[in-house]
């Protein structure tokens, strides 16, 4: 991770104007991720202060595995949000996958057949979202509010208010278990593998570059010959499939399949993505930042839950404040800098081509939703 560059202060001394601009941007990015790391450290210290159990391997194991599903959902969401779209239906797909798993198991299908069917069903859900967004040109926010209810409803329809608990132990044991004698849960290892793949795809492949280009300027991306619709459709399908995978993991970890699992998970996952520095307008963000944000949110939940007096209340409050602060902070910093620049340089006009508020995306009037 890039630390603060030594040339960061003294913006007026550097000769080439764009260079200064660049180093400022870099420092902010550096600062943002450094800030999250700092916050993580603080939470760990507080956590250790609250309870001596916090820093034990056992606590970290349960804490991290409890957060697996959020973390996995956040990965494809990062890509979707980076293109400037959103998928609110992920938790419902997760529930649908869980319910389907229970139903098929009750029907006597072997797990080897159930798992691919669930993933395929998730991909199909994603295909529906993606087609409505790219084929019909509907706003993804409205579409996925609809499919969020639809898929959750289908989950209830499939399994009703039953729950299925008699899954084979070799599967549930794997989901409970730790990786090869370490304290790292198997599910977290799976997440780390997925995260590595997503990071490479987003940051080191043409596909990933195209994602950022679409998010930053969809029209220019189309004018560059990128297959904008196809890429977005694939991302929604991917999001559905991965959400189904998260549903399978949750079902196995809890040894329970039900239609009501994962309620509200989508918002925690989105919170992690935004907190991780991905612009809700698209075009910027890193998987690394999102992983840090996930660690932070997970640590907060775990730390605050150790003390029965500091319960869900503070988890919610801190999450909300961090979420808004993650966008508000840089906005205010940019404004303060701008004000200072104007006052020190008199009436010098703004440099052409670089907007005053770096946070606003293409056509990014601050007060519009994506």
């Amino acid at each position: 991770m890039s630390t603060i560059s030594p040339t960061a202060p003294a913006p007026d001394r550097t000769p080439a104007a764009p260079r200064t601009e660049d180093s400022i941007v870099k420092t902010i990015l550096g600062r943002w991720e450094t800030l999250i790391v700092g916050l993580i450290v603080v939470v760990f210290i507080i956590g250790a202060g609250i309870s001596s159990e916090f820093l034990t391997g056992d606590s970290l194991t349960t804490g991290s595995s409890d957060f697996t599903e959020y973390a996995i959902l956040a990965l494809p969401l990062t890509l979707i949000i980076a293109t400037g779209e959103i998928d609110l239906s992920v938790a419902s797909v997760l529930a649908l996958s869980s319910a389907l798993m229970g139903y098929l198991w009750n029907q006597g299908l072997p797990m080897e057949a159930i798992l691919p069917i669930c993933i395929l069903a998730g991909a199909l859900c994603g295909l529906i979202n993606g087609w409505l967004v790219t084929g019909l040109g509907l706003p993804s926010l409205a579409v996925t509010i609809g499919t969020m209810a639809l898929f959750r409803g289908l989950a209830y329809v499939i399994l009703g208010d039953e729950s299925v608990t008699d899954f084979p132990t070799n599967y549930t044991d794997w989901a409970f278990g730790n990786f090869a004698g370490t304290v790292i849960p198997n599910t977290i290892v799976l997440f780390l593998v997925l995260a590595a793949i997503f990071a490479v795809v987003l940051h080191r492949t043409p596909f990933g570059r195209a994602i950022f280009a679409i998010g930053a300027n969809k029209e220019a991306a189309r004018f560059s010959g990128l297959r904008v619709n196809r890429i977005q459709l694939r991302l929604f399908i991917l999001s559905g499939a991965i959400a189904a995978l998260a549903g399978i993991l949750l079902t196995l970890r809890n040894s329970t399949a039900a239609g009501n699992v994962g309620d509200g998970f989508e918002l925690t996952a989105i919170a992690a993505v935004v907190l991780g520095g991905v612009s809700i307008f698209g075009g910027t963000g890193t998987i690394g930042g999102v992983i840090l944000a996930l660690i932070l949110l997970g640590a907060i939940q775990k730390a605050l839950n150790l003390d029965p007096d500091i319960n869900t209340a503070w988890v919610n409050i801190v999450t909300g404040i961090l979420l808004v602060g993650s966008v508000l902070g840089p906005n205010i910093a940019a404004r303060v800098r701008e004000a200072r620049r104007i006052s020190t340089r008199g009436t010098r006009p703004p440099r052409p081509g670089r907007s005053a508020a770096p946070q606003s995306g293409p056509g990014g009037e601050g007060n519009t939703n994506a």
Binding site: A16, P18, R19, R209, N217, E219, A221, G225, G353
Partner: protein, 508 residues
């Protein structure tokens, strides 16, 4: 109309300058708008007209010099300030509320009220109907603006300006998208405003319109006012000479290229409601210009050829293979490249770096062992930067930090890297300073010399006449003339572009 130079101008610009970094968009420009005058503002694209308009309308402020209202210096901090001073502007692209009715668009912010502060709908409708009647347009005040043609939307803008009781009306190419009948109608309104004592600043590229409506003229070139006087004293050829200010042939040294086989063959291309039945061919080494007025459908044609717009009919054949319509990726794969008109919205991803933009159209080639190689990206980008003499700090700088001309070179680099067989370039030098302009022209000429087929859309006559081997002229969505380099001259192109000649054979 008599012009009394001694009366105090309603609004004036006094020695105003405006620069953006090293680019001087406006240099010590003065201009007076007097009651009862229709003043034409003439100049090529990039001469500084739009900067001047921005200052007069409060969108931008000069670095030095001032704006005078009734002789008093003022500072327009916003468009609201200029509007309160009685300045209204009709822009090329109307800015309206698409979901609201025509009437509400006109009165937004100043709804007429009745008891309990309710909106007085009958009064609102009647007012707007009155304004529209005066314009002689049959437009339902109750219908939403969404779906109106650009011409009708402009009428709504004019009605809005009239409702503000504007004393000064700035019309920035208002006739570009209007039909002959609509132009006559508009001129009727302009004359009525003039008779009532309003001042009008009229910007148009159609010379005969300018001579029809304007009384005085300001000519601009490279950011400076080069002529100011009654229009009657300035014959047409003299006006053009002052606008261009240099010999056309000298500026565009045309290197003769060997013209080869047909690269692009378009037949019967149509897009319902936009353009119809366009046939065109471009051969290797040939530069074909698509000329015409703004709004004639030229950009739409090339965008449909490239596939970013969906054509409704016709075929696009590239090197003997029919391309699927509406698929830019297929067009790129077939060797087509499009440098669009709107650099900031379509040509570049402004938030991305120079290097990332330069390689965006061929990300697949930037891989080594399956992954994007930053090294290869840098190498490719800097190689093209060198070849196009791109001036930049670092390849990782955001592309937005470059000047317009250098941004255009980045777009060119992006496409030339794909080794295209056909380069479509829409307004190649719009918003580019004069020095870089010549460079861009040189690059295009060189490329054609190397056997690249070039299809160029341009609104600048000197560019069209100086660069093209063949000129196709469009008017209201149809090709109205096809001229060889020898046949093409200003008069013929302008006649065809204004629909004065509808039959190609007349010239050929």
């Amino acid at each position: 109309m008599s012009t009394d130079a001694t009366t105090t101008p309603l609004v004036a610009l006094d020695g105003a300058s405006r620069s953006f970094g090293a680019v001087h968009a406006l240099k010590n420009a003065s201009l007076a708008l007097r009651a009862g005058e229709v003043r034409a503002l003439m100049g090529e694209n990039g001469a500084g007209k739009s900067t001047l308009v921005k200052i007069l309308t409060g969108v931008d402020r000069p670095n030095s010099g001032s704006v005078l209202v009734d002789g008093e210096p003022v500072v327009f901090h916003s468009t609201a300030d200029s509007r309160d001073a009685g300045v209204a502007v009709i822009l090329q692209e109307p800015t309206l509320f698409p979901d609201l009715s025509v009437a509400e668009n006109v009165v937004m912010g100043r709804h007429p009220k009745r008891s309990f502060g309710r909106i007085d709908r009958p009064a609102m409708k009647q007012t707007v109907q009155g304004l529209l009647d005066r314009l002689g347009v049959d437009l339902d005040p109750d219908r939403p603006v969404q779906g109106l043609s650009i011409a009708d939307q402009q009428i709504v803008e004019i009605a809005k300006a009239m409702s503000f009781d504007a004393r000064v009306l700035i019309m920035d190419e208002p006739t570009a998208a209007l039909s002959g009948r609509e132009v006559d109608r508009l001129f009727g309104v302009v004359r009525a405003l003039q008779a009532r004592g309003a001042a009008v600043l009229f910007i148009s590229h159609r010379l005969e319109e300018v001579y029809e409506i304007a009384t005085v003229v300001t000519v601009m070139r490279d950011g400076e006012v080069v002529h100011d006087g009654p229009l009657s004293e300035l014959p047409e050829d003299e006006l053009v000479r002052r606008m261009v200010g240099r010999d056309v042939n000298q500026l565009f040294p045309k290197t003769p290229a060997t013209i080869g086989d047909v690269v692009l063959d378009v037949k019967g291309l149509s897009r319902e409601g936009v353009f119809y039945d366009v046939d065109l061919q471009v051969r290797a080494g040939e530069i074909v210009a698509l000329a015409g007025l703004v709004g004639a459908g030229r950009s739409e044609v090339v965008q449909a050829i490239f596939g970013v717009d969906q054509a409704t009919e016709g075929t696009v054949n590239m090197l003997g293979h029919d391309l699927p319509l509406g698929k830019p990726t297929a067009a790129v794969a077939a060797g087509m490249a499009l440098v669009p008109e709107d650099r900031r919205q379509q040509g570049l991803v402004m938030d991305m770096s120079i290097g990332q933009n330069a390689t965006l159209a061929r990300l697949g080639d930037m891989r080594s062992r399956g992954l994007l190689s930053p090294k290869r990206e840098r190498a490719e980008a800097s190689q093209w930067g060198e070849r196009l003499q791109l001036k930049y700090g670092k390849l990782s700088d955001p592309v937005g930090t470059l000047s317009g001309g250098n941004q255009q070179k980045v777009v060119l680099a992006k496409w030339l890297g794909t080794e295209p067989r056909l380069l479509i370039i829409d307004e190649p030098t719009r918003g580019i300073d004069v020095g870089t302009k010549a460079e861009v022209h040189r690059i295009i000429n060189e490329l054609a010399g190397q056997g690249l087929a070039v299809l160029m859309v341009s609104s600048e006559l000197p560019e069209v006449l100086g660069m093209a081997d063949r000129v196709l002229v469009m008017f209201e969505g149809r090709v109205t003339a096809e001229l060889t380099r020898a046949e093409a001259n200003e008069e013929r192109v302008v006649r065809a572009a204004t629909g004065r000649t509808a039959v190609t054979e007349e010239i050929a």
